[in-house]
Symmetry: C2
Subunit: 159 residues, 2 copies
Protein backbone atom coordinates (compact mmCIF):
# COMPACT_ATOMS: atom_id res chain seq x y z
CA UNK A 1 0.00 0.00 0.00
CA UNK A 2 1.19 3.50 -0.78
CA UNK A 3 2.05 5.64 2.20
CA UNK A 4 0.14 8.86 2.45
CA UNK A 5 3.40 10.68 3.14
CA UNK A 6 4.61 10.01 -0.39
CA UNK A 7 1.98 12.07 -2.13
CA UNK A 8 2.13 15.38 -3.90
CA UNK A 9 -1.24 16.99 -4.59
CA UNK A 10 -3.77 17.96 -1.95
CA UNK A 11 -7.54 17.66 -2.47
CA UNK A 12 -7.72 21.48 -2.40
CA UNK A 13 -5.04 21.68 -5.11
CA UNK A 14 -6.87 19.18 -7.28
CA UNK A 15 -10.22 20.96 -6.92
CA UNK A 16 -8.62 24.30 -7.73
CA UNK A 17 -6.91 22.73 -10.74
CA UNK A 18 -10.19 21.29 -12.01
CA UNK A 19 -12.21 24.45 -11.42
CA UNK A 20 -9.48 26.52 -13.08
CA UNK A 21 -9.86 24.38 -16.18
CA UNK A 22 -13.63 24.62 -15.98
CA UNK A 23 -13.41 28.42 -15.83
CA UNK A 24 -11.34 28.41 -19.01
CA UNK A 25 -13.79 26.06 -20.75
CA UNK A 26 -16.58 28.46 -19.78
CA UNK A 27 -14.65 31.25 -21.53
CA UNK A 28 -14.32 29.05 -24.62
CA UNK A 29 -18.10 28.45 -24.67
CA UNK A 30 -18.59 32.21 -24.37
CA UNK A 31 -16.20 32.86 -27.26
CA UNK A 32 -18.35 30.89 -29.74
CA UNK A 33 -20.92 32.76 -31.79
CA UNK A 34 -24.38 31.43 -30.81
CA UNK A 35 -24.99 29.71 -34.14
CA UNK A 36 -21.54 28.16 -34.46
CA UNK A 37 -21.68 26.76 -30.95
CA UNK A 38 -24.55 24.55 -32.11
CA UNK A 39 -23.65 24.03 -35.76
CA UNK A 40 -19.96 24.36 -36.52
CA UNK A 41 -17.70 21.33 -36.66
CA UNK A 42 -14.70 19.95 -38.57
CA UNK A 43 -14.12 16.53 -40.11
CA UNK A 44 -17.41 15.01 -38.99
CA UNK A 45 -16.71 15.70 -35.33
CA UNK A 46 -19.26 16.88 -32.80
CA UNK A 47 -20.19 20.54 -32.41
CA UNK A 48 -18.80 22.27 -29.32
CA UNK A 49 -22.29 22.30 -27.78
CA UNK A 50 -22.33 18.47 -28.01
CA UNK A 51 -18.91 18.33 -26.36
CA UNK A 52 -20.21 20.64 -23.64
CA UNK A 53 -23.15 18.24 -23.17
CA UNK A 54 -20.64 15.49 -22.51
CA UNK A 55 -18.61 17.60 -20.09
CA UNK A 56 -21.74 18.54 -18.15
CA UNK A 57 -22.87 14.90 -18.13
CA UNK A 58 -19.55 13.79 -16.65
CA UNK A 59 -18.64 16.43 -14.05
CA UNK A 60 -21.49 16.61 -11.54
CA UNK A 61 -23.07 13.20 -12.24
CA UNK A 62 -19.64 11.55 -12.03
CA UNK A 63 -18.63 13.28 -8.82
CA UNK A 64 -22.08 12.75 -7.30
CA UNK A 65 -21.80 9.04 -8.04
CA UNK A 66 -18.36 8.94 -6.43
CA UNK A 67 -19.50 10.79 -3.30
CA UNK A 68 -22.73 8.81 -2.89
CA UNK A 69 -21.01 5.54 -3.91
CA UNK A 70 -23.85 5.10 -6.34
CA UNK A 71 -23.10 3.48 -9.70
CA UNK A 72 -25.35 4.92 -12.42
CA UNK A 73 -24.92 4.61 -16.18
CA UNK A 74 -23.68 7.61 -18.14
CA UNK A 75 -26.54 9.65 -19.59
CA UNK A 76 -25.96 12.66 -21.75
CA UNK A 77 -28.24 15.48 -22.80
CA UNK A 78 -31.19 14.36 -20.65
CA UNK A 79 -32.16 18.01 -20.76
CA UNK A 80 -32.10 19.64 -24.18
CA UNK A 81 -30.42 23.04 -24.07
CA UNK A 82 -30.90 25.30 -27.09
CA UNK A 83 -29.20 28.56 -26.13
CA UNK A 84 -25.60 29.22 -25.18
CA UNK A 85 -26.86 31.15 -22.16
CA UNK A 86 -28.46 27.94 -20.87
CA UNK A 87 -25.12 26.16 -21.11
CA UNK A 88 -23.41 28.94 -19.20
CA UNK A 89 -26.09 28.80 -16.52
CA UNK A 90 -25.74 25.00 -16.24
CA UNK A 91 -21.99 25.41 -16.14
CA UNK A 92 -22.19 27.78 -13.18
CA UNK A 93 -24.61 25.52 -11.36
CA UNK A 94 -22.20 22.63 -11.89
CA UNK A 95 -19.30 24.75 -10.54
CA UNK A 96 -21.16 25.25 -7.26
CA UNK A 97 -22.29 21.61 -7.05
CA UNK A 98 -18.74 20.34 -7.63
CA UNK A 99 -17.52 22.49 -4.75
CA UNK A 100 -20.27 21.10 -2.52
CA UNK A 101 -19.70 17.43 -3.38
CA UNK A 102 -15.94 17.85 -3.12
CA UNK A 103 -16.23 18.71 0.57
CA UNK A 104 -17.71 15.29 1.18
CA UNK A 105 -14.65 13.46 -0.16
CA UNK A 106 -12.29 12.18 2.49
CA UNK A 107 -8.58 11.79 1.84
CA UNK A 108 -8.96 8.01 1.84
CA UNK A 109 -11.62 8.20 -0.87
CA UNK A 110 -9.13 9.36 -3.50
CA UNK A 111 -7.21 6.09 -3.55
CA UNK A 112 -10.32 3.89 -3.28
CA UNK A 113 -11.63 2.23 -6.43
CA UNK A 114 -14.93 3.32 -7.92
CA UNK A 115 -16.76 1.89 -10.89
CA UNK A 116 -17.54 5.17 -12.63
CA UNK A 117 -20.78 5.05 -14.63
CA UNK A 118 -20.63 1.28 -14.15
CA UNK A 119 -17.87 1.20 -16.76
CA UNK A 120 -14.57 2.56 -15.44
CA UNK A 121 -13.25 0.76 -12.38
CA UNK A 122 -10.33 2.92 -11.23
CA UNK A 123 -9.07 4.73 -8.14
CA UNK A 124 -11.13 7.87 -7.64
CA UNK A 125 -8.17 10.22 -8.11
CA UNK A 126 -7.75 8.66 -11.57
CA UNK A 127 -11.41 9.14 -12.37
CA UNK A 128 -11.08 12.80 -11.49
CA UNK A 129 -7.90 13.26 -13.51
CA UNK A 130 -9.79 11.68 -16.38
CA UNK A 131 -12.60 14.26 -16.05
CA UNK A 132 -10.00 17.01 -16.30
CA UNK A 133 -8.02 15.46 -19.16
CA UNK A 134 -11.16 14.79 -21.14
CA UNK A 135 -12.20 18.41 -20.74
CA UNK A 136 -8.77 19.75 -21.75
CA UNK A 137 -8.81 17.42 -24.77
CA UNK A 138 -12.20 18.58 -26.05
CA UNK A 139 -11.51 22.20 -25.22
CA UNK A 140 -8.35 21.97 -27.33
CA UNK A 141 -10.62 20.87 -30.15
CA UNK A 142 -12.86 23.87 -29.45
CA UNK A 143 -9.79 26.07 -29.90
CA UNK A 144 -9.35 24.72 -33.43
CA UNK A 145 -13.02 25.39 -34.18
CA UNK A 146 -12.62 28.97 -32.97
CA UNK A 147 -9.45 29.49 -35.01
CA UNK A 148 -11.16 28.03 -38.09
CA UNK A 149 -13.95 30.55 -37.49
CA UNK A 150 -11.39 33.36 -37.35
CA UNK A 151 -11.91 33.89 -33.62
CA UNK A 152 -9.03 34.27 -31.18
CA UNK A 153 -9.52 31.77 -28.30
CA UNK A 154 -8.86 32.73 -24.66
CA UNK A 155 -5.27 32.32 -23.48
CA UNK A 156 -4.65 28.73 -22.38
CA UNK A 157 -2.97 29.79 -19.15
CA UNK A 158 -5.82 32.06 -18.04
CA UNK A 159 -7.87 30.11 -15.54
CA UNK B 1 1.65 24.74 5.48
CA UNK B 2 -0.23 21.82 4.03
CA UNK B 3 0.19 18.54 5.83
CA UNK B 4 1.62 15.75 3.73
CA UNK B 5 -1.09 13.45 5.04
CA UNK B 6 -3.77 15.41 3.17
CA UNK B 7 -2.53 14.62 -0.30
CA UNK B 8 -3.89 12.38 -3.00
CA UNK B 9 -1.47 11.60 -5.81
CA UNK B 10 1.88 9.90 -5.37
CA UNK B 11 4.95 10.81 -7.45
CA UNK B 12 4.71 7.36 -9.08
CA UNK B 13 1.06 8.02 -10.01
CA UNK B 14 1.91 11.38 -11.50
CA UNK B 15 4.80 10.01 -13.56
CA UNK B 16 2.64 7.15 -14.82
CA UNK B 17 -0.11 9.63 -15.68
CA UNK B 18 2.30 11.84 -17.62
CA UNK B 19 4.00 8.97 -19.43
CA UNK B 20 0.60 7.49 -20.30
CA UNK B 21 -0.31 10.76 -21.97
CA UNK B 22 3.05 10.87 -23.72
CA UNK B 23 2.50 7.36 -25.09
CA UNK B 24 -0.82 8.49 -26.55
CA UNK B 25 0.75 11.60 -28.08
CA UNK B 26 3.39 9.35 -29.67
CA UNK B 27 0.56 7.36 -31.27
CA UNK B 28 -0.95 10.59 -32.57
CA UNK B 29 2.38 11.58 -34.16
CA UNK B 30 2.52 8.14 -35.75
CA UNK B 31 -1.02 8.49 -37.11
CA UNK B 32 -0.10 11.54 -39.22
CA UNK B 33 0.97 11.00 -42.82
CA UNK B 34 4.59 12.17 -43.15
CA UNK B 35 3.73 15.19 -45.31
CA UNK B 36 0.74 16.33 -43.25
CA UNK B 37 2.70 16.13 -40.02
CA UNK B 38 4.90 18.94 -41.36
CA UNK B 39 2.42 20.84 -43.53
CA UNK B 40 -1.20 20.45 -42.50
CA UNK B 41 -2.89 22.97 -40.25
CA UNK B 42 -6.24 24.69 -39.72
CA UNK B 43 -7.13 28.34 -39.20
CA UNK B 44 -3.56 29.62 -39.28
CA UNK B 45 -2.50 27.37 -36.39
CA UNK B 46 0.82 25.54 -36.16
CA UNK B 47 1.40 22.19 -37.83
CA UNK B 48 1.46 19.18 -35.51
CA UNK B 49 5.24 18.90 -35.97
CA UNK B 50 5.58 22.43 -34.58
CA UNK B 51 3.41 21.50 -31.62
CA UNK B 52 5.59 18.40 -31.10
CA UNK B 53 8.65 20.71 -31.14
CA UNK B 54 7.07 22.63 -28.29
CA UNK B 55 6.22 19.49 -26.32
CA UNK B 56 9.77 18.18 -26.70
CA UNK B 57 11.18 21.57 -25.71
CA UNK B 58 9.10 21.57 -22.52
CA UNK B 59 9.28 18.01 -21.18
CA UNK B 60 12.92 17.12 -20.66
CA UNK B 61 14.35 20.66 -20.54
CA UNK B 62 11.63 21.66 -18.07
CA UNK B 63 12.09 18.64 -15.82
CA UNK B 64 15.88 18.87 -16.05
CA UNK B 65 15.72 22.51 -14.95
CA UNK B 66 13.49 21.54 -12.03
CA UNK B 67 15.77 18.69 -10.92
CA UNK B 68 18.98 20.67 -11.31
CA UNK B 69 17.36 23.84 -9.91
CA UNK B 70 18.74 25.58 -12.96
CA UNK B 71 16.68 28.36 -14.53
CA UNK B 72 17.15 28.46 -18.29
CA UNK B 73 15.05 30.28 -20.89
CA UNK B 74 12.67 28.24 -23.05
CA UNK B 75 14.26 27.32 -26.39
CA UNK B 76 12.37 25.46 -29.05
CA UNK B 77 13.56 23.60 -32.11
CA UNK B 78 17.27 24.05 -31.39
CA UNK B 79 17.67 20.92 -33.47
CA UNK B 80 15.80 20.89 -36.78
CA UNK B 81 14.00 17.59 -37.31
CA UNK B 82 12.73 16.87 -40.81
CA UNK B 83 11.34 13.33 -40.64
CA UNK B 84 8.59 11.93 -38.44
CA UNK B 85 10.92 9.08 -37.52
CA UNK B 86 13.29 11.60 -35.94
CA UNK B 87 10.46 12.95 -33.80
CA UNK B 88 9.56 9.44 -32.68
CA UNK B 89 13.18 8.74 -31.81
CA UNK B 90 13.44 12.01 -29.86
CA UNK B 91 10.18 11.18 -28.15
CA UNK B 92 11.50 7.82 -26.94
CA UNK B 93 14.75 9.38 -25.74
CA UNK B 94 12.70 11.92 -23.80
CA UNK B 95 10.58 9.12 -22.27
CA UNK B 96 13.70 7.51 -20.82
CA UNK B 97 15.19 10.83 -19.68
CA UNK B 98 11.99 11.81 -17.91
CA UNK B 99 12.04 8.53 -15.99
CA UNK B 100 15.66 9.16 -14.99
CA UNK B 101 15.16 12.76 -13.86
CA UNK B 102 11.95 11.86 -12.05
CA UNK B 103 13.85 9.58 -9.68
CA UNK B 104 15.83 12.57 -8.49
CA UNK B 105 12.73 14.44 -7.29
CA UNK B 106 12.07 14.21 -3.57
CA UNK B 107 8.58 14.41 -2.16
CA UNK B 108 9.33 17.87 -0.75
CA UNK B 109 10.33 19.13 -4.19
CA UNK B 110 6.78 18.92 -5.52
CA UNK B 111 5.46 21.66 -3.29
CA UNK B 112 8.54 23.88 -3.64
CA UNK B 113 8.38 26.85 -6.00
CA UNK B 114 10.42 26.84 -9.18
CA UNK B 115 10.76 29.58 -11.76
CA UNK B 116 10.24 27.43 -14.85
CA UNK B 117 12.13 28.75 -17.88
CA UNK B 118 12.66 31.91 -15.85
CA UNK B 119 9.02 32.78 -16.53
CA UNK B 120 6.61 30.65 -14.50
CA UNK B 121 7.13 30.83 -10.76
CA UNK B 122 4.89 28.08 -9.39
CA UNK B 123 5.06 25.01 -7.17
CA UNK B 124 6.73 22.19 -9.05
CA UNK B 125 3.65 19.96 -9.00
CA UNK B 126 1.80 22.77 -10.83
CA UNK B 127 4.57 23.08 -13.39
CA UNK B 128 4.29 19.36 -14.08
CA UNK B 129 0.49 19.45 -14.31
CA UNK B 130 0.97 22.27 -16.77
CA UNK B 131 3.28 20.13 -18.93
CA UNK B 132 0.59 17.46 -19.05
CA UNK B 133 -2.33 19.83 -19.66
CA UNK B 134 -0.47 21.62 -22.41
CA UNK B 135 0.23 18.30 -24.11
CA UNK B 136 -3.40 17.14 -23.82
CA UNK B 137 -4.53 20.51 -25.19
CA UNK B 138 -2.32 20.38 -28.29
CA UNK B 139 -2.92 16.68 -28.83
CA UNK B 140 -6.66 17.42 -28.86
CA UNK B 141 -5.90 19.86 -31.66
CA UNK B 142 -3.96 17.11 -33.44
CA UNK B 143 -7.11 14.98 -33.25
CA UNK B 144 -9.02 17.62 -35.21
CA UNK B 145 -6.25 17.76 -37.82
CA UNK B 146 -6.41 13.97 -38.20
CA UNK B 147 -10.22 14.00 -38.48
CA UNK B 148 -10.04 16.81 -41.05
CA UNK B 149 -7.59 14.60 -42.98
CA UNK B 150 -10.08 11.72 -42.84
CA UNK B 151 -7.89 9.73 -40.42
CA UNK B 152 -9.29 8.06 -37.32
CA UNK B 153 -7.21 9.14 -34.29
CA UNK B 154 -6.15 6.68 -31.55
CA UNK B 155 -8.68 6.16 -28.75
CA UNK B 156 -8.30 8.85 -26.11
CA UNK B 157 -8.34 6.34 -23.24
CA UNK B 158 -5.57 4.17 -24.69
CA UNK B 159 -2.36 5.10 -22.94
Amino acid sequence: MKTLAAQVITPEDLLKHWQGHRALTRNVIEAFPEKDFFEFSIGGMRTFSKMADELLAIAVPGLKGIVNKEVKPFTEGSEKLIFKAQYLEKWDEATAEINQYWEKLSIEDFSANFNLFGQYEFPIYQNILYFIDNEVHHRGQGYVYLRALGIEPPFFWER
